[in-house]
Amino acid sequence: MEQFEPVIVAFCCHYCAYTAADTAGSQRLSYPVGVKIVRVPCTGKVDAKHLLTAFEKGADGVLVAGCLVGDCHFKDGNVKAARRVEFTKKYLEEIGIEAERLEMVRMSAGMGREFAETATAITEKIRALGPSPVKGKNCCCGKAA
């Protein structure tokens, strides 16, 4: 059987995580191709709706990648994002999606290696979990949103 290649949406804040991903690129530090980056000005901008939509559309995992605590360009957007992620995790459990499929990580702009390692780690984790239960089903979660 062909190895399951999870699709992971990574919401990356422009100032830290997105730049860290660029750094990983310029250092040629590879990470799985299934990890796709969506650039946001701040993780504080990432709405629960975005997270759920990602799962609804078939993402196997979602990563919210912001700045280190205290380093947020907008003071505490990353803290707010973390709260929202926690909340969304609970909701995911309720609707039958493993909470581990959603994760908040923090890194600085220079941490290219950490970005690549994180992207690899989460991919492995999701691979172990298997494809998202949403996939192949006519799931209606989030439709209401």
Binding site: D22, G25, D71, K80, A109
Partner: protein
């Protein structure tokens, strides 16, 4: 006969040399609204960098991040650029130079030439430029994207003028053209004409003249380059086969006293070789063995040590501490033999290689030397200009400045820094020339009409070997609403952009996707470039196919190509959902905040104040002067205390500078041109407004727990040692043996980088000790002696006076033990294979610097700025924007950026001032449409946004219908989008990142892409 006209350009700065340094200097000036004339004797700009395949430490080319800004219609008409032009005479003095400029005929009418190449095919002998290996490499256009995009003819080599003239299908060849001579007035002059490279032809033992497979580092670069003689394939010149083993030999033409070598270190070659070795393995074949034979591996720049470690550990580049005697190819043999020894044993080693690269250093360019002599600039015996020990860009002639490799061998970041510093000083001599500002393009309904998307794939082939750009373009064309797609490989060439503009107009494109490098580099550039064809800047989306596909997945082309397609599709979806927006123009604040009152901060403040800016200089401690207060003299003999006294005097008495000592930064808001910063001045709160900020907060002398430091009175740091030498000469006279240990607390796990200044400071102290006590025996235990540039000459001086330098390895560090009155230092001399014990009267530890992590973290938090892993402030682009920070309007200088010596700190201070002036020279500020807006119809005035906003921007206002609704002031909004995320009614949307945009991208991302 020559035509002679007089230019009307009073108050210009003349920049000689259109390489990277010249471009940077000219752009800084133009952006600060000063008139500049940029001349280069070559037909196109770009200098040496255009011949490089990629440059460290990013291992990419990046020319496209600078070159487009030299386009003739950019920079408000302040920049007058002339190719094929030389300075033939200079009269006058600072403030009023008259220069004669001679422009050689190109023999090609640039307006008519279509660069079809017909003339070159029929008359290849007329092609005059010889980059790298092929004397007629593919055209005279040095790199594919030469500016301007046209041929040049060497008429002296043309035998059939008439035939040549006739062969051009558009009649662009003008065989009778004459040189044009003009005079220009200028207030100051910047020499940025670069340096020549050492020619190793006469070094028979390295076989360069005789063996095709022995090449210089620049030639190797050309072989690697997509625009080079092999079309970007790594092949042995002798037989066209790919090499399996490549060796580099360092310090060819540098660090030598015979056969024409310079005594200085060329500073860039170690990193250059590392880069070439890494690129060889990464881009061509990871099986190719790469070996660098070196004397000292000089990775002294910011984060360069990590780059070195990466080369060794991640890329498997092999480093051998040895200078080979010969590169040979015995008759009948196909491979080259290198003969060398290693430190550990007196034994010959012969190893075979397919190619050998000689890392040739910089030499003074003879043409430039002549010009410098005409200007009466004082030169060293080796031809490089003498500069002030506290001002590396100021020559002996007032008003004449130098930068880049013309001043001495250096890499790109240093060149860029010096260029900005030179432009700071040169610009101070000329006034701002007012020019009408271009109107902002209006946002019309048409620009958002039915979406017609154009896709531009802007990645150069050589940056994206993993990607098939042709297939990507074809794929893009298949996406609905995409009306045209093209690969645009001339991103570094402004004039080649005309074709793109034409395609956009012809196809009625109103939205553009740029598939290239990170939007962090591309977005602003393409916004500026596409504005003239009416593309609203917010209808441009970037697909980051370089960092996110070509580079991360370099090893898996299929995956990289599929991902690139997906990224493009996502970007198309995003741009389809985007809305056209208008920027605001607001009056800009023209004051500056300088944080840090050391020599760097004071210098930056003085330069800004001298150009009319009002400056707030904030110092945390009660006193100005910073760490430099601990220093006595520079290695060149510059009196540091006198410098500080002078700076303090000038700073405190300058009418434009307000000094706040014992002051901390407590809060900060706003954006470039409109910053607001709260200070705690001796505990009292005060708020200031400023348009730009320079961080010059320095670094902290390291005090590691090692070698009995702090436990044994014989052991001290170099800073302490310097004090003892200065204050207790009698004590020093008693010393018999002194040992210095380098890299204590640097280049280790805790502090991985090199502190850069320790090698020269130990040599400085050694020389000072010997001055007091010529009979003292001094041992310097080192890992790599990093006396780059002219510091090498002090290293030589120290050896001459008997200082013994002993190399140690991290696996076998020296030991220091208390031994009664002495400290016994035990170390191994690998060359003798013996242990040596020295009973030392004094052990000086080169403890270097560490980032002031705590205070940097606090500042980074307040200002919202990124730090590097080791706690220094991170610049925007390590190579091309070394003093700019990611956040517009912020600049960094001095040890806050990374440790360096005083002169370098001051250069950076001037560079930061120059960069800050490009902001402060503007009366108005274009404010990006990056703010949240409220749909008042949906708003329930629930106050969630009011509570959520980190900056207290939303307010509930009552409209004319008496309804209370949230209002977000666009000028105050920072654009984080937290309110939009939290708003329960989804009444708030953030410009550029509206839900519909994000969701469209997500839709596309998760739709199956069948590549």
């Amino acid at each position: 006969m020559q035509k002679k006209t007089k230019l009307q350009s009073n108050g210009s700065v003349l920049v000689v040399g259109g390489g990277l340094g010249g471009i940077r200097a000219a752009l800084d000036l133009a952006e600060a609204r000063k008139d500049v004339i940029l001349v280069d004797k070559a037909p196109c700009i770009g200098g040496l960098m255009t011949q490089l395949d990629r440059t460290f430490p990013t291992n990419n080319c990046d020319l496209c991040t600078v070159a487009p800004f030299t386009a003739k219609d950019s920079r408000g008409g302040h920049l007058d650029m002339r190719g094929l032009t030389t300075v033939t005479a200079v009269k006058g003095k600072e403030g009023n130079f008259t220069v004669s400029l001679m422009t050689a005929p190109r023999f090609v009418n640039v307006e008519k030439c279509t660069a079809c190449g017909e003339c070159q095919r029929k008359y290849p002998e007329c092609v005059s430029f010889a980059p790298g290996l092929d004397p007629r490499a593919p055209t005279c256009m040095r790199y594919p994207k030469a500016t301007p995009y046209a041929y040049v003819i060497d008429m002296a080599k043309c035998a059939d003028k008439e035939g040549l003239k006739q062969c051009c299908p558009v009649g662009a060849i003008e065989t009778d053209a004459l040189p044009k001579v003009e005079e220009a007035q200028c207030g100051s002059i910047i020499l940025a004409a670069g340096a020549a490279l050492f020619d190793p032809s006469h070094l028979d033992y390295f076989g360069y003249a005789a063996q095709p497979d022995v090449v210089t580092s620049l030639e190797y670069e050309r072989i690697l380059s997509a625009s080079g003689p092999t079309g970007g394939k790594l092949l042995r010149p002798s037989n066209g086969q790919p090499p399996k083993k490549v060796a580099w030999i360092q310090c060819v033409g540098s660090r030598g006293l015979q056969k024409g070598a310079g005594a200085y270190c060329s500073s860039a070659c170690c990193m250059f070789a590392l880069k070439e070795a890494m690129v060889t393995r990464e881009r061509f074949d990871s099986e190719i063995e790469t070996t660098i034979f070196y004397m000292d591996m000089r990775a002294f720049g910011k984060d360069y040590e990590k780059y070195l470690n990466r080369a060794k550990e991640q890329y498997g580049v092999r480093l051998v501490h040895s200078r080979p005697h010969d590169v040979l190819r015995p008759v009948g043999m196909d491979k080259l033999q290198i003969l060398y020894t290693v430190d550990e044993a007196p034994k010959h080693i012969t190893e075979e290689f397919d190619m050998v690269v000689l890392s040739t250093g910089f030499k003074m360019n003879e043409d430039v030397k002549k010009l410098a002599e005409d200007l009466a600039v004082e030169l060293y015996a080796d031809g490089f200009p003498k500069t002030d020990c506290f001002n590396a860009v100021a020559t002996s002639v007032p008003g004449v400045y130098v930068c880049g490799t013309l001043q001495g061998g250096k890499d790109i970041p240093e060149t860029m820094t010096q260029a900005s510093a030179a432009s700071c000083l040169a610009g101070a001599k000329v006034a701002v020339t007012p020019r009408p500002k271009a109107e902002l393009p209006a946002v019309t309904p048409e620009c958002a009409g039915s979406p017609r998307v154009g896709v531009l794939v802007t990645l150069c082939d050589h940056e994206s070997t993993a990607l098939d750009t042709t297939a990507l373009v074809e794929y893009a064309k298949s996406i609905p609403h995409v009306v045209c797609a093209a690969a645009f490989e001339a991103a570094c060439d402004p004039s080649s952009f005309d074709a793109v503009k034409a395609a956009i107009l012809a196809n009625g494109v109103n939205r553009v996707v740029v598939a290239g490098s990170s939007p962090r580099y591309e977005l602003e550039k393409y916004q500026a470039m596409l504005a003239p064809v009416g593309i609203n800047k917010y209808l441009i989306e970037v697909a980051n196919i370089r960092e996110q596909a070509a580079w991360v997945h370099a090893g898996e082309p299929a995956a990289a190509n599929a991902k690139a397609k997906q990224l493009v599709a996502m970007a198309v979806a995003g741009v389809m959902a985007a809305k056209p927006l208008a920027d605001h123009v607001v009056p800009a604040n023209k004051n500056a905040l300088v944080v840090g009152g050391g020599v760097t901060g004071m210098t930056a403040a003085l330069e800004l104040a001298g150009q009319g800016a009002k400056v707030c200089l904030v110092e945390k401690t009660a006193e100005l002067g910073g760490v430099a207060r601990n220093l006595v003299k520079t290695i060149e003999g510059g009196d540091v205390q006198a410098l500080i006294a002078d700076l303090v005097e000038k700073t405190t008495s300058h009418p434009n500078i307000k000094v706040f000592t014992a002051t901390e930064i407590v809060d900060h808001s706003g954006q470039v041109g409109l910053f607001r910063t709260g200070l705690s001045v001796n505990g009292a709160y005060k708020e200031i407004e400023h348009g730009a900020t320079i961080l010059a907060t320095g670094a902290t002398p390291n005090q590691p727990q090692a070698f009995l430091l702090g436990e044994n009175s014989r052991v001290c740091t170099q800073l302490d040692l310097q004090k003892v030498v200065n204050e207790q000469p009698k004590e020093v006279k008693k010393w018999k043996n002194v040992v210095m240990i380098q890299c204590v607390g640097s280049r280790d796990a805790d502090n991985p980088n090199c502190s850069r200044l320790c090698c020269q400071s130990s040599i400085k102290n050694a020389l000072a000790i010997l001055k007091e006590n010529p009979n003292a025996r001094i041992f310097v235990l080192y890992r790599d002696l990093r006396t780059y540039g002219r510091f090498e000459e002090y290293y030589q001086k120290a050896r001459e006076l008997g200082v013994i330098f002993v190399r140690y390895s991290v696996d076998n560090p020296p030991k220091v033990e208390a031994a009664g009155h002495y400290a016994n230092v035990t170390f191994t001399d690998v060359i003798m294979g013996r242990q040596v014990v020295v009973s030392a009267d004094c052990v000086g530890l080169s403890t270097g610097f560490v980032a002031s992590r705590k205070s940097n973290e606090a500042l980074a938090k307040v200002f919202g700025l990124p730090l590097t892993d080791d706690g220094y402030f991170a610049e925007m682009h390590v190579k091309l924007r070394p003093v700019d920070m990611d956040k517009a309007g912020f600049f960094v200088a001095g040890c806050a950026h990374s440790p360096k010596v005083i002169a370098e700190n001051l250069t950076q201070a001037r560079a930061a001032a120059s960069r800050a002036m490009t902001v402060l020279a503007n009366d108005t500020l274009v404010q990006e449409a990056k703010f949240a807006h409220v749909d008042r119809a949906r708003c329930a005035a629930c106050l969630v946004c009011v509570r959520a906003c980190p900056f207290d921007v939303p307010q509930i206002t009552v409209d004319d219908k008496g309804l209370g609704r949230s209002y977000i002031d666009p000028v105050k909004c920072h654009g984080c989008g937290t309110c939009a995320a939290e708003c329960p009614a989804k009444a708030i949307q953030l410009n550029q990142f509206e839900d519909v945009q994000i969701l469209s991208s997500l839709d596309q991302l998760l739709a199956k892409v069948n590549a």
